[in-house]
Protein backbone atom coordinates (compact mmCIF):
# COMPACT_ATOMS: atom_id res chain seq x y z
CA UNK A 1 0.00 0.00 0.00
CA UNK A 2 1.40 3.37 -1.04
CA UNK A 3 2.49 5.82 1.63
CA UNK A 4 0.43 9.00 1.69
CA UNK A 5 1.21 12.56 2.66
CA UNK A 6 -0.90 15.64 3.18
CA UNK A 7 0.18 19.13 2.16
CA UNK A 8 -1.63 22.17 3.49
CA UNK A 9 -0.91 25.13 1.23
CA UNK A 10 -2.40 28.22 2.79
CA UNK A 11 -5.88 26.97 3.70
CA UNK A 12 -6.06 24.33 0.98
CA UNK A 13 -5.21 20.68 1.63
CA UNK A 14 -4.07 18.11 -0.90
CA UNK A 15 -3.24 14.45 -0.49
CA UNK A 16 -0.51 12.67 -2.42
CA UNK A 17 0.65 9.09 -2.83
CA UNK A 18 4.38 8.56 -2.79
CA UNK A 19 5.84 6.67 -5.77
CA UNK A 20 7.92 4.31 -3.65
CA UNK A 21 8.67 1.93 -6.50
CA UNK A 22 9.82 4.58 -8.96
CA UNK A 23 11.76 6.86 -6.60
CA UNK A 24 12.41 4.84 -3.41
CA UNK A 25 15.39 6.83 -2.10
CA UNK A 26 13.81 10.25 -2.56
CA UNK A 27 10.50 9.03 -1.08
CA UNK A 28 12.29 7.59 1.96
CA UNK A 29 14.17 10.81 2.61
CA UNK A 30 11.05 12.92 2.20
CA UNK A 31 9.06 10.63 4.50
CA UNK A 32 11.78 10.70 7.18
CA UNK A 33 11.81 14.52 7.15
CA UNK A 34 8.11 14.83 8.01
CA UNK A 35 6.41 16.79 9.47
CA UNK A 36 7.78 19.84 7.69
CA UNK A 37 6.77 23.49 7.72
CA UNK A 38 7.75 25.56 4.73
CA UNK A 39 6.58 28.17 2.22
CA UNK A 40 5.13 27.95 -1.24
CA UNK A 41 5.42 30.26 -4.18
CA UNK A 42 4.71 30.03 -7.87
CA UNK A 43 7.26 28.86 -10.37
CA UNK A 44 8.24 31.97 -12.33
CA UNK A 45 8.95 30.66 -15.79
CA UNK A 46 6.39 27.87 -15.98
CA UNK A 47 2.69 28.43 -15.49
CA UNK A 48 0.77 25.95 -13.40
CA UNK A 49 3.40 24.90 -10.87
CA UNK A 50 3.75 25.58 -7.14
CA UNK A 51 7.11 25.02 -5.45
CA UNK A 52 7.94 24.15 -1.83
CA UNK A 53 11.44 23.82 -0.37
CA UNK A 54 12.01 20.81 1.92
CA UNK A 55 15.07 20.04 4.11
CA UNK A 56 15.85 16.91 2.11
CA UNK A 57 18.90 16.24 -0.05
CA UNK A 58 18.31 13.39 -2.48
CA UNK A 59 20.18 12.39 -5.60
CA UNK A 60 18.74 12.25 -9.10
CA UNK A 61 16.26 9.39 -9.49
CA UNK A 62 13.27 8.69 -11.75
CA UNK A 63 14.04 11.93 -13.59
CA UNK A 64 11.45 13.10 -16.11
CA UNK A 65 10.70 16.33 -17.92
CA UNK A 66 7.45 15.16 -19.50
CA UNK A 67 5.26 15.62 -16.43
CA UNK A 68 1.48 15.44 -16.15
CA UNK A 69 -1.21 17.23 -14.18
CA UNK A 70 -1.03 16.04 -10.56
CA UNK A 71 2.59 14.90 -10.68
CA UNK A 72 4.83 15.99 -7.81
CA UNK A 73 8.53 16.33 -8.56
CA UNK A 74 11.62 16.92 -6.46
CA UNK A 75 14.32 19.19 -7.85
CA UNK A 76 17.67 18.10 -6.32
CA UNK A 77 19.60 21.32 -7.00
CA UNK A 78 17.23 23.35 -4.85
CA UNK A 79 15.66 20.69 -2.59
CA UNK A 80 12.29 21.75 -3.85
CA UNK A 81 9.01 19.92 -4.38
CA UNK A 82 7.27 20.95 -7.60
CA UNK A 83 3.51 20.47 -7.71
CA UNK A 84 2.27 20.45 -11.30
CA UNK A 85 -1.42 21.27 -11.59
CA UNK A 86 -1.77 22.06 -15.30
CA UNK A 87 -0.44 20.96 -18.63
CA UNK A 88 3.07 22.32 -18.86
CA UNK A 89 6.68 21.60 -19.66
CA UNK A 90 8.92 22.18 -16.62
CA UNK A 91 12.18 24.09 -16.90
CA UNK A 92 14.33 21.08 -16.11
CA UNK A 93 14.29 17.42 -15.14
CA UNK A 94 13.07 16.50 -11.68
CA UNK A 95 12.60 13.31 -9.67
CA UNK A 96 8.94 12.34 -9.95
CA UNK A 97 8.14 11.29 -6.38
CA UNK A 98 4.38 11.50 -5.84
CA UNK A 99 0.95 11.91 -7.39
CA UNK A 100 -1.79 14.21 -6.11
CA UNK A 101 -4.86 12.08 -5.31
CA UNK A 102 -7.09 14.68 -3.62
CA UNK A 103 -7.42 18.45 -3.84
CA UNK A 104 -5.84 18.95 -7.25
CA UNK A 105 -8.63 21.18 -8.56
CA UNK A 106 -8.13 23.75 -5.80
CA UNK A 107 -4.50 24.41 -6.65
CA UNK A 108 -5.22 27.02 -9.32
CA UNK A 109 -6.90 29.16 -6.66
CA UNK A 110 -3.88 28.67 -4.38
CA UNK A 111 -1.63 29.75 -7.22
CA UNK A 112 -3.72 32.88 -7.83
CA UNK A 113 -3.48 33.67 -4.13
CA UNK A 114 0.31 33.27 -4.26
CA UNK A 115 0.56 35.61 -7.24
CA UNK A 116 -1.38 38.16 -5.21
CA UNK A 117 0.51 37.76 -1.91
CA UNK A 118 3.89 36.39 -3.06
CA UNK A 119 4.03 33.45 -0.66
CA UNK A 120 1.88 31.15 1.48
CA UNK A 121 2.73 28.90 4.44
CA UNK A 122 2.88 25.13 3.94
CA UNK A 123 2.64 22.16 6.28
CA UNK A 124 3.47 18.67 5.08
CA UNK A 125 2.72 15.59 7.18
CA UNK A 126 2.55 11.83 6.83
CA UNK A 127 -0.88 10.18 6.73
Amino acid sequence: MARKIEMKLGDHKIQCELLDEDAPLTCDKLWESLPVKSLTTNAKFVGDELIVMVPVMADEENQLKDVGRGDVGYYPLQQTLCIFFGDLLPFGFCNIVAKVTEGLDGLKAVSDQVIESGVLPVEIKAL
Binding site: N42, P55, M57, Q78, Q79, I115, G118
Partner: protein, 152 residues
Protein backbone atom coordinates in the same frame (compact mmCIF):
# COMPACT_ATOMS: atom_id res chain seq x y z
CA UNK B 1 33.32 10.53 9.48
CA UNK B 2 36.10 12.98 10.13
CA UNK B 3 35.52 14.71 13.44
CA UNK B 4 36.07 18.23 12.15
CA UNK B 5 33.66 17.75 9.29
CA UNK B 6 31.15 16.05 11.55
CA UNK B 7 31.25 19.04 13.91
CA UNK B 8 30.96 21.46 11.01
CA UNK B 9 27.96 19.58 9.61
CA UNK B 10 26.26 19.67 13.02
CA UNK B 11 26.89 23.41 13.22
CA UNK B 12 25.30 23.97 9.79
CA UNK B 13 22.31 21.80 10.71
CA UNK B 14 21.78 23.91 13.83
CA UNK B 15 22.07 27.12 11.80
CA UNK B 16 19.66 25.77 9.21
CA UNK B 17 17.11 24.95 11.91
CA UNK B 18 17.49 28.51 13.23
CA UNK B 19 16.66 30.06 9.87
CA UNK B 20 14.07 27.53 8.72
CA UNK B 21 11.01 29.09 10.38
CA UNK B 22 12.26 32.60 10.92
CA UNK B 23 13.95 34.97 8.52
CA UNK B 24 17.55 35.53 9.65
CA UNK B 25 18.46 38.97 10.99
CA UNK B 26 21.18 39.35 8.38
CA UNK B 27 18.54 39.07 5.66
CA UNK B 28 16.76 42.05 7.17
CA UNK B 29 20.12 43.89 7.23
CA UNK B 30 20.55 43.14 3.55
CA UNK B 31 17.11 44.48 2.75
CA UNK B 32 17.89 47.69 4.61
CA UNK B 33 21.11 48.47 2.76
CA UNK B 34 21.24 51.99 1.44
CA UNK B 35 23.63 52.19 -1.48
CA UNK B 36 23.77 55.38 -3.59
CA UNK B 37 21.24 55.50 -6.43
CA UNK B 38 19.56 52.16 -5.70
CA UNK B 39 18.88 51.90 -1.96
CA UNK B 40 18.52 48.17 -1.33
CA UNK B 41 17.17 47.00 -4.68
CA UNK B 42 20.46 46.29 -6.43
CA UNK B 43 22.06 44.69 -3.37
CA UNK B 44 19.08 42.35 -3.00
CA UNK B 45 19.27 41.34 -6.66
CA UNK B 46 23.05 40.89 -6.57
CA UNK B 47 22.89 38.84 -3.37
CA UNK B 48 20.19 36.75 -5.02
CA UNK B 49 22.57 35.95 -7.88
CA UNK B 50 25.41 35.30 -5.43
CA UNK B 51 23.47 32.71 -3.43
CA UNK B 52 22.13 31.07 -6.56
CA UNK B 53 25.58 30.63 -8.05
CA UNK B 54 27.05 29.33 -4.81
CA UNK B 55 24.39 26.62 -4.58
CA UNK B 56 24.78 25.74 -8.24
CA UNK B 57 28.55 25.39 -7.90
CA UNK B 58 28.35 23.38 -4.69
CA UNK B 59 25.98 21.00 -6.47
CA UNK B 60 28.24 20.82 -9.52
CA UNK B 61 31.39 20.07 -7.51
CA UNK B 62 29.52 17.61 -5.27
CA UNK B 63 28.33 15.62 -8.26
CA UNK B 64 31.71 15.74 -10.00
CA UNK B 65 33.28 14.40 -6.81
CA UNK B 66 30.74 11.56 -6.54
CA UNK B 67 31.14 10.65 -10.20
CA UNK B 68 34.92 10.75 -9.94
CA UNK B 69 35.12 13.11 -12.92
CA UNK B 70 37.59 15.33 -11.09
CA UNK B 71 40.15 14.28 -8.46
CA UNK B 72 39.26 14.81 -4.83
CA UNK B 73 42.23 17.14 -4.32
CA UNK B 74 41.21 19.26 -7.31
CA UNK B 75 37.62 19.44 -6.08
CA UNK B 76 38.80 20.59 -2.66
CA UNK B 77 40.95 23.32 -4.20
CA UNK B 78 38.32 24.56 -6.66
CA UNK B 79 35.58 24.51 -4.06
CA UNK B 80 37.66 26.41 -1.52
CA UNK B 81 38.54 29.07 -4.08
CA UNK B 82 34.87 29.51 -4.89
CA UNK B 83 33.83 29.55 -1.24
CA UNK B 84 36.49 32.11 -0.31
CA UNK B 85 35.37 34.42 -3.10
CA UNK B 86 31.73 34.02 -2.11
CA UNK B 87 32.39 34.76 1.55
CA UNK B 88 33.72 38.21 0.60
CA UNK B 89 30.66 38.87 -1.54
CA UNK B 90 28.30 37.69 1.20
CA UNK B 91 29.96 40.20 3.53
CA UNK B 92 29.43 42.99 1.00
CA UNK B 93 25.73 42.21 1.02
CA UNK B 94 25.59 42.20 4.86
CA UNK B 95 25.18 38.41 5.10
CA UNK B 96 27.86 38.39 7.77
CA UNK B 97 26.85 35.25 9.68
CA UNK B 98 26.56 33.24 6.51
CA UNK B 99 29.87 34.63 5.23
CA UNK B 100 31.58 33.26 8.35
CA UNK B 101 29.92 29.90 7.80
CA UNK B 102 31.23 29.88 4.22
CA UNK B 103 34.75 30.55 5.52
CA UNK B 104 34.44 27.75 8.08
CA UNK B 105 33.21 25.29 5.46
CA UNK B 106 36.08 26.26 3.16
CA UNK B 107 38.63 25.53 5.90
CA UNK B 108 37.00 22.22 6.75
CA UNK B 109 36.95 21.15 3.10
CA UNK B 110 40.61 22.06 2.60
CA UNK B 111 41.62 19.75 5.44
CA UNK B 112 39.27 16.89 4.59
CA UNK B 113 40.50 13.42 3.66
CA UNK B 114 37.23 11.58 3.15
CA UNK B 115 35.09 12.35 0.05
CA UNK B 116 31.97 10.88 1.67
CA UNK B 117 32.34 13.22 4.65
CA UNK B 118 32.74 16.17 2.27
CA UNK B 119 29.63 15.10 0.35
CA UNK B 120 27.61 14.90 3.58
CA UNK B 121 28.86 18.33 4.62
CA UNK B 122 28.06 19.87 1.23
CA UNK B 123 24.56 18.36 1.24
CA UNK B 124 23.76 20.09 4.50
CA UNK B 125 25.41 23.33 3.36
CA UNK B 126 23.41 23.24 0.16
CA UNK B 127 20.15 23.05 2.11
CA UNK B 128 21.28 25.95 4.33
CA UNK B 129 22.12 28.21 1.39
CA UNK B 130 18.99 27.28 -0.50
CA UNK B 131 16.93 28.26 2.52
CA UNK B 132 18.69 31.63 2.52
CA UNK B 133 17.83 31.82 -1.17
CA UNK B 134 14.15 31.09 -0.43
CA UNK B 135 14.01 33.89 2.13
CA UNK B 136 15.38 36.31 -0.42
CA UNK B 137 13.35 34.96 -3.31
CA UNK B 138 10.07 35.18 -1.43
CA UNK B 139 10.76 38.76 -0.38
CA UNK B 140 11.11 40.00 -3.96
CA UNK B 141 7.72 41.01 -5.42
CA UNK B 142 8.39 39.17 -8.69
CA UNK B 143 4.80 38.92 -9.82
CA UNK B 144 3.99 42.59 -9.27
CA UNK B 145 7.32 43.70 -10.77
CA UNK B 146 6.83 41.49 -13.79
CA UNK B 147 3.58 43.19 -14.64
CA UNK B 148 4.85 46.74 -14.14
CA UNK B 149 8.40 46.82 -15.45
CA UNK B 150 9.49 46.50 -19.06
CA UNK B 151 13.19 46.05 -19.74
CA UNK B 152 14.06 47.11 -23.29
Amino acid sequence: MEKQLEDMKAKITAKRCEIWDEEPAEMRELKQTNFPNTNSFASVMYAYAEIYHLTKNIYLYRNAMIDGEVSFEAIKKLLSLWLDTTSKRYTTWKLVDSAQLVVDVSKAVQQAQDPQAVKDLLDEFLIYNNKLFVWLDTSIPWFQLGKKITID
